[in-house]
Every structure is written in structure tokens, then in C-alpha cells.
Amino acid sequence: MTATDLPMPDLRTGVELVPTLDDDAPRQTGKDFSSDQEVRWCPGCGDYAVLKAVQGFLPDLGLRRENIVFVSGIGCSSRFPYYLNTYGMHSIHGRAPSIATGLATAREDLSVWVVTGDGDALSIGGNHLIHALRRNVNMTILLFNNRIYGLTKGQYSPTSEAGKVTKSTPMGSVDHPFNPVSLALGAEATFVARTIDSDRKHLTSVLSAAAAHRGTSLVEIYQNCPIFNDGAFDAIKDNDTKHDALIPLVHGEPVRFGREGAKGLVRDTETGGVRIVEVGTEPGQVPAEALLVHDAHQPDPTTAFAISRLTEMGYLDQTPIGIFRQVARPTYDDQARSQVTSAQDAAPGEPTERLTNLINGGDTWTVV
């Protein structure tokens, strides 16, 4: 078998080929992106906050509304497309990435979004997720992680902590959970981020970066399910605990958190991972200059993976949020279209005539 050097299409932003609004068009608002359908999530569901944030953020892109498509699978979060006044498809369980792959490859002029949940993306649709990530198809995946099955009324999910007592696990779950960020990095995703439903500012900034990224962007959104898994994210939301629990990642900045920046990350030479230290000049503390500087653009995913491992899969009392990884790699859909275009350039002529030539190829004979 031989391999060939693929032509490298110009790297562009995620929405570079998507038509924008005319210069004199009125500025869009969140209302423009609200459909006429009644939103039917449970009261207090984190999905409302994410919907509001997305509706509020989409106008910033300045894209033509008709060129935006939201595709979802099955689950509470997958109702999302019905509430956005764009094109949308609410598909079947776990398969949205495959639909988005076909759509994004067929149409370079669309901004394609996938809305999925922890069950949809990581359980029934795990295969499609990892393959979308490795292919690097130009799409943004919003993975709503509430760590429970909501729509089927409360069974444990692939991100539920081991030992979790649910309707299907009365004696505690014996499943080992996935860490979605670690999984995405393992699949060599080019953009991996995590944010929280209740932090609109952070959520919006991550969404902006994800939309701007050309390739598959995976954004894990911690989202509270008030009915079946209430409080799963209390540690990172509670004013008393969140300073020590949330580890913000900012590209080019030392990783520092805690009240008054009392904590930080350093490399752990023993394990090859990273570890949390106290910042300071006292014995046992680490000076601020020695902290790990976050480099999301590092091609080698090793450090990003190490940072992702800080997240405990039980009670979430320490978790990094922000952009773990953001690197450039040619996208699948750009390259696939480029092969079609170069084949078309090499075979000019009217399609009917070329079809005639094609079917008349090979050894032919004529009977008169």
C-alpha cells in the first residue's frame, strides 16, 4: 500500500466560508435565534442557561442565520435545536456526529453544531464521537454533561461516579466513568474545552473560541440536572468552595487558582503528570514563577492530558476549566472537498458528455 502527500488546504477559521450578514443589515439579537416553540425542560434545568447563552452568543458571529445548522441526538439536551431559529435536526441516539460529518462535508458554507449529552455522546454514540474528533471535521460539539440519564428518568451515565446509587444501580454502580476531556484528547481532538452552565461569561468565551476553530471543537459543559442529579457540581458552584475547586486554564498564563491565587500547578517529575501546589516562598510552597504556564497550542497533547486527569470522577472538588487544547490540523471535510475539486478541475466538460464517455469506456462493440 502506498501513501500520498495530501495537498494542505489553507487553514481558516471555523466560519470563514460561511456567508455573513450584509454590512447594512440590522444587528441580530438573541431573539432572532429563538424559535416559536415552547421550551420544555424541567424548571431549574441547566439547559436553559446554555440555551440563553447560545442564543445570546450567536449574533456575535455575524453569520446568516440560514447558514447555521444544529444537529442533535437523543436526550434532554438534544431538544436544543427545536428552540433555535436556525436549520436543525433532532436525530437518533448517539448518531449526530455522523450526520454532522456528512452535512459539513457536503456544505462548506455552513456553520455546523452538534448538541449532545453524556449518554448520547459517550455511551451509545461513543464510536461516532471519537471518529469525528480524530477526523477533525469542521463542527462544534457541545457536550452537556449532567452525569446522569435524565430523559429515561435517572439511570447512571458513563460519567456518573463509581458507586452511584440510581434506579438501575440500587447497590451502587460498578462502572468506571469516562473523563470526556481525557477521552477527547486521547482521540487527538484539535480543540478541547470545558465550561459550566452557570458561568455565562466563561461559557460564551469558550463558545467563541470553539466556533472560531477550524476542525472539530469539543466543549464539555457541566450542566446541572435538578431532578435526577441535583448538586453534582455544587463544589465548583458554591461560593465557599469554588475557588479551590475550579482551576481556570488560560493560554499563556501560569495555572493558578484558589483564594488570592494560593494554589497552582507544577509538573510532577515523578509521575510525568501535574500536581497542585501551594504558591509562596515558605517551605513546601512553590514560587509563582515556577508554576506551569498553560500552552493550549502545544502540538503534543501530553500536558493537556495530564491536566485533564486532575478532575476527580467522584465528588468534583477540583477541576480545570477552559481550553485544554487548541491546535491546527487540516480538516477532513476541507481535504475531502479539495479532492473533489481537483478531480473536477482535471476533468472539464459538460457532465452529460462525461457520463456518456464514462459508460462507453472499456471494450465496446457495436451491433448495427
Partner: protein, 648 residues
């Protein structure tokens, strides 16, 4: 030495050898030569699922059968007149299929103790030729050291013994080409091109081919040369074509005629992979081929592309359809055009990957949850895969629906001369994308607004509008949840669900309005027995009917291209006959559908051997039914004494 030339009207040759012996290539070249010569022909490749089963064993035997004639023929032949056997296993595996008097050309080189053991022979059957207990006494056996002569002939090129021996298939091809007066230029040009980069291999193959020809001409082993005149065929330009190739071309033609780019999402599976391979060569027609991570993603990609305004296609075999079922249901619900190709193989489960079967008809009809009607279209011969694919595209695009195109392993790999159509004669397929709002809505205060309703249907076809992203003002959401009639918003209303279930069914039923009347082949008009089939059994059924008619009896034949919906006139046709016989390579799936829909006493004729039905056996079954229906004695041996001595 001048040789006797004997006229024949038809011959069936089977080339058989080890999987690595190049029998498929040999058969294919002989076929191309015969096609260019002008014979009508039908081929039947038959190979193991293992890429290289243990050499010299029975499971490793690969064969290629070609039936060629001076007249129009319909099948690859029930039994070979000539067997070319390259080793003991090939002889043993195929001997049972030979009729008495058949010729066997056998390469003696591999009849060693070791290879005889592998094939399960206690003693060398060639040692006893002419003796009292000759196991091959019923046949005209020609033992020839094909390998030895090949190695000798190509000595000058300095190849290893192994490489030299590999040219033995071309020696055999040369010999058979001489024996049947085949033109040789095509094969010479083919070899020159195929091995252009390895001159010594190219020259060895060319030399082996020519030496084989010359050997036939000079040796006394073969005293007779045969002549099979070109067949009288309808005017036109022809080429030899396999079903998978014709189906690929048909899909491309569907793209050209609809003006839609094609997006194929596919996962490799035997015997459908060649369609993926072929389509991936034709990106210049705007064909994008995505090799998916699994069968499910393959159709998901096709549906996503269809939502975006492309012609979505997915290709697979039965096991793949099982996996795609939920997605086909989504395409039914979202009413998006997708062509789902099932190249059927032996089942259930992994079954017989390289063998043919028609056992996925009911899966195509009903293999989904809910009331999920899907149009089903089936080609009847390798060349017909082209027209069937164009028809599948027409239905999918016109009616906004997934369409199941049911080919099978025999059609996929078999080949026949194909009268190349004029592209301008193919149907024009109009995607008719929606471009503007389609519904005026009056509010309570009397103000009117123009809206886009994605489920407001065309009155004639019941098709819904296809509004693709990028079209301003038509933003809408679709999905797997039940839709409200017209506006398409989620609806759990009981009456609406009942209406939508019936409407989706009615839309598929409406397709029948666009179908031409069935062609009933009833030459005498006096038949009491009708034989009805679908798919690749067309050839054996046609040949069986001809045999019955040749013996002086009446029988009618009709063949279905559309399995769902059935054509409007099918019910009337079935009622016109006293007996209805339904031959199928399954346990009676079309029979079941006909019985259910038309309350007709359909009688099954069913074989599931992984091979095409045998025309002569089927003729017997038809004959028995004719005897019953007409109250006469039926003796089909009369067919043998008619003008042609041969089966059709």
C-alpha cells in the same frame, strides 16, 4: 496439421483453481474476448470468503463460469460443458457439477501425493484413465502439464520458478482461446498495460498466453476447434459489465440527471465494497465518498448530506442493513432522499459472505420499528443494475424518501453484455428545492404572514418540500419525533399520529402512479401458469420458461422491478392465471407478500444454496404445474430434440 472445426450454439466453461491461481482474472479475460467477438454471455464468479484459504484445499477453490452463445441467453448455465481444473482440489470440488460427457482439461502438475492428500484423494484419479475402474470414465479428460509447459516457455525471462509458474493461468487462457476461436488482441493489450511496470512478468504472461494458443494449434491432444458464431443482438453499442459496476454508474447517472452532488457514506462489506471503490474513482462527477467508522455512521453521513441538499447514498449488504435500520426509520420520518443499496448475500448473521441470496426482501420491507414504509427496487440482471439505480434515485428525490435498492451477490459479480443507453434518454430528475414560504397564516387579528411549513405536501406525490440550509426564510427543524401535519412541529396528538402514519404510507403507495404497466411475457396468450419473480432470478426463470415453451407448453412470466409499492396492474395479472409460481432464493418472501396483498395461492419454488437457481430444475417445476393446471402430461425432453440441442 489442419484441425476439424465443429459448430456449437453455446458452451459453458468453468475455470477452477486455487484462490491464488488467478481464475477470476482468467475468466474475466475469456469473457471480454467473447464479448468483443459478439457472443451473448452470462458469467458466474464463485469464490471463497477467505482471501487465501490454505493452498490446494477444497475450501480454497475459486472458480469462474462463463456461458456464451450464438443466441440470446439468460443464465450462466446450469452445468459446465468444459471444466478447466488447475489442481486436484479444483477437480474434486467441481466434478459433481459436471454432466456426463463433459470435457475436463486438467493441469497434471499439481497431482502430487501432497496435493492429492490436501484435496482428499486417496489415489491419483488421473492414473486410472482408460482403466476399468476409471473414476473419470464419464468425461473426456485431457491431462496436460500446463504448469510445466508454462515454466519451460518463460524460461528466457529469468523469473523465479514460483513467478514463472504463476503465468500458468495465461497458458490455460491461451489454450481455451484457441479452442473457441477467441480474438486475442484485447488480452495482449490488457497484459501489456497491467504489467507495464514489470517487463519480465509482462513478457512471461504474454508468452504463456501465446504458447497456450500455439499448443492448442499443434498438439494432437486437442483435435477439434469449436466455433460459436456471434449472437444476433439488438442494434446498439455494447460492453460487458458487472452488476456492481453498472450500479455505480447508475448512481453517478442519477447524480448527473438530478444535478445533485453525491455523498456516499459506506463501510466496507462483501459483496458491496466494489461500489465504494468504484464511486471513489469518480470524484470529478461531484461524488464524495466517505468511508465511515461503521455501518450506522455510513447512512448517518448520507442523511446529513441529504439534509444539506446532496444525494445521500449508502451501500452495504444484509448485516449492514440490520445496523442501519434505525437511521432508515429517521429518513422515513424526516422524509429525506437517501438511496440504500443492499447487495444481498447468504444469511442470517455473517452467513455466506461471497454467495448470493434473496433473503433480505422482508427485511427491506419491514426491518424497522413502527410503520416505516420504504420503496424497494430490484435489478434483474447485472446490466440492469444501471437502470435500477437510476430508478432508485428518481423515486428517492421525487418522493423525498429512503429507497432500498436490492441487488445480490450474483448480480454484483456476474456480468453480461450491456446495451449502453443514451444518457439523454434517462429520466430527468428534478430536486425542486423549496425557495420561498409556502403557507399564508392568518393571525387572530386578521394579519397575514407567510411561513414555511416543511410538511405541507405536494398534492400529487404527497412529497414534502426539500428546503436546504442556506435558504433564507425557510429555517426549520426536523427530527425523529412525530410531526404535526403541515407545520411539522412536534405533535403527540393521537389523531395527528394516525393521520401521519397513513400519510407516509400513502406517499409510498402513490409511487405506483408513476410506474409503467408490467410486461407479461405470455407468447401464446394461452398460459394457465404464471411464473413471477424479482431480482436476479430473472435469468433462470426466463430460461426455465423458454424450455417449457420449447417443449410445446404454455407458460407466462412476469418479473418485478418494484417490490414496494407493487405496480397497480399486478393484482389483475395474478388473477388471470390458474396457478402462480414464485421462484426465489429464499424460503418464500415474495410469496408471502403476494399472498398477503392479493389473496393469491402463490406457490413457492425455493432454493437457498448460495447459487443461482438452475434453469432445468426450475423448468421441471414449471412443467409439473402446467400438467396440473392443464390436465396434460408434460414431457420436457421434447425441448432437447427441438432445433437447438441446447438449453437456453
Amino acid at each position: 496439421m489442419s484441425k476439424q472445426v465443429k459448430q456449437l450454439d453455446r458452451v459453458v466453461i468453468r475455470f477452477a483453481g486455487d484462490s491464488g491461481d488467478g481464475m477470476q482474472l482468467t475468466g474475466d479475460r475469456f469473457t471480454q474476448e467473447s464479448a468483443v467477438f459478439g457472443n451473448d454471455l452470462v458469467t458466474l464468479p464463485n469464490f471463497p470468503a477467505e482471501i487465501r484459504a490454505p493452498q490446494g484445499t477444497i475450501p480454497g477453490v475459486s472458480s469462474f463460469q462463463v456461458h456464451f452463445a450464438d443466441h440470446d441467453i439468460l443464465t450462466a448455465g446450469d452445468a459446465p460443458d468444459v471444466l478447466v481444473a488447475m489442481n486436484p482440489a479444483a477437480l474434486k470440488a467441481n466434478l459433481g457439477d459436471l454432466p456426463k460427457g463433459a470435457a475436463i482439461i486438467v493441469d497434471t502438475h499439481d497431482f502430487t501425493k501432497r496435493n492429492l492428500d490436501k484435496a482428499g484423494y486417496d489415489a491419483n484419479p488421473l492414473d486410472k484413465i482408460g482403466e476399468v475402474n476409471d473414476p473419470l470414465a464419464d468425461y473426456a479428460v485431457h491431462p496436460v502439464d500446463l504448469t510445466g509447459m508454462t515454466v519451460e516457455a518463460v524460461k528466457e525471462f529469468g523469473l523465479s520458478r514460483k513467478d514463472a509458474a504463476r503465468a500458468k493461468n495465461m497458458f490455460a487462457l491461451g489454450l481455451l482461446s484457441w479452442m473457441y476461436g477467441r480474438p486475442t488482441e484485447g488480452t495482449e493489450a490488457f497484459l501489456a498495460k497491467r504489467f507495464a511496470k514489470v517487463p519480465d512478468i509482462r513478457d512471461a504472461n504474454l508468452t504463456a498466453f501465446k504458447t497456450g494458443w500455439n499448443y492448442g494449434e499443434t498438439t494432437e491432444t486437442f483435435a477439434v476447434q469449436y466455433e460459436i458464431k456471434p449472437a444476433t443482438m439488438a442494434p446498439g453499442t455494447y460492453r460487458n459489465i458487472s452488476g456492481n459496476l453498472a450500479l455505480s454508474y447508475g448512481l453517478i447517472a442519477g447524480g448527473v440527471r438530478s444535478g445533485l452532488p453525491i455523498v456516499l457514506g459506506s463501510y466496507p462489506i462483501t459483496p458491496a465494497s466494489d461500489i465504494l471503490h468504484e464511486l471513489s474513482k469518480h470524484k470529478s462527477f461531484g461524488v464524495n465518498t466517505l468511508q465511515a467508522e461503521d455501518e450506522i455512521a455510513g447512512i448517518g453521513m448520507a442523511i446529513g448530506a441529504a439534509f444539506g441538499g446532496a444525494l445521500g447514498v449508502t451501500t452495504t449488504s444484509g448485516p449492514g442493513i440490520a445496523l442501519k435500520g434505525e437511521f432508515i426509520g429517521l429518513a422515513v420520518m424526516t422524509e429525506l432522499p437517501v438511496v440504500v443499496v443492499n447487495v444481498q448475500r447468504g444469511g442470517p448473521s455473517t452467513g455466506l459472505p461471497t454467495k448470493t441470496e434473496q433473503s433480505d426482501l422482508l427485511q427491506a420491507m419491514y426491518g424497522r420499528n413502527g410503520e416505516a414504509p420504504v420503496p424497494v427496487v430490484a435489478p434483474q440482471s447485472p446490466g440492469d443494475c444501471f437502470a435500477a439505480a437510476v430508478e432508485a434515485v428518481r423515486i428517492a428525490v421525487t418522493y423525498r424518501t429512503p429507497v432500498m435498492l436490492l441487488s445480490d451477490g450474483y448480480l454484483a459479480n456476474g456480468s453480461e453484455p450491456w446495451s449502453i443507453p443514451d444518457v439523454d434518454d434517462l429520466p430527468v430528475i428534478d430536486p425542486a428545492f423549496a425557495t420561498a414560504p409556502n403557507k399564508t397564516v392568518t393571525a387572530k387579528d386578521g394579519t397575514e404572514t407567510e411561513e414555511f411549513w416543511p410538511y405541507l405536501r405536494d398534492e400529487k406525490t404527497l412529497a414534502r418540500p426539500w428546503a436546504i440550509p442556506g435558504t433564507p426564510g425557510l429555517e426549520h427543524r426536523i427530527g425523529g419525533l412525530e410531526k404535526g401535519d403541515g407545520h411539522g412541529n412536534i405533535s403527540y396528538d393521537p389523531a395527528n399520529h394516525d393521520l401521519m402514519v397513513r400519510t407516509r404510507q400513502a406517499k409510498i403507495d402513490r409511487i405506483a402512479d408513476s410506474l409503467p404497466p408490467l410486461e407479461v411475457d405470455d407468447p401464446s396468450g394461452q398460459a394457465k401458469v404464471l411464473v413471477i419473480g424479482w431480482g436476479s432470478t430473472y435469468g433462470p426463470i426466463g430460461a426455465g420458461c423458454r424450455r417449457v415453451r420449447k417443449a410445446g407448453y404454455h407458460v407466462a412470466q412476469v418479473h418485478l422491478r418494484h417490490l414496494n409499492p407493487f405496480p397497480h396492474d399486478l393484482g389483475d395479472i395474478l388473477k388471470r392465471y390458474d396457478k402462480v409460481l414464485v421462484p426465489e432464493m429464499n424460503l418464500g418472501q415474495l410469496s408471502l407478500l403476494l399472498r398477503a396483498k392479493y389473496l393469491v395461492d402463490a406457490i413457492g419454488y425455493n432454493h437457498v444454496r448460495g447459487l443461482p437457481l438452475k434453469a432445468a430444475e426450475l423448468a421441471e417445476a414449471i412443467g409439473n404445474l402446467v400438467a396440473e393446471a392443464e390436465g396434460v402430461e408434460v414431457d420436457l425432453t421434447a425441448a432437447d430434440s427441438a432445433t437447438s440441442t441446447q438449453e437456453v
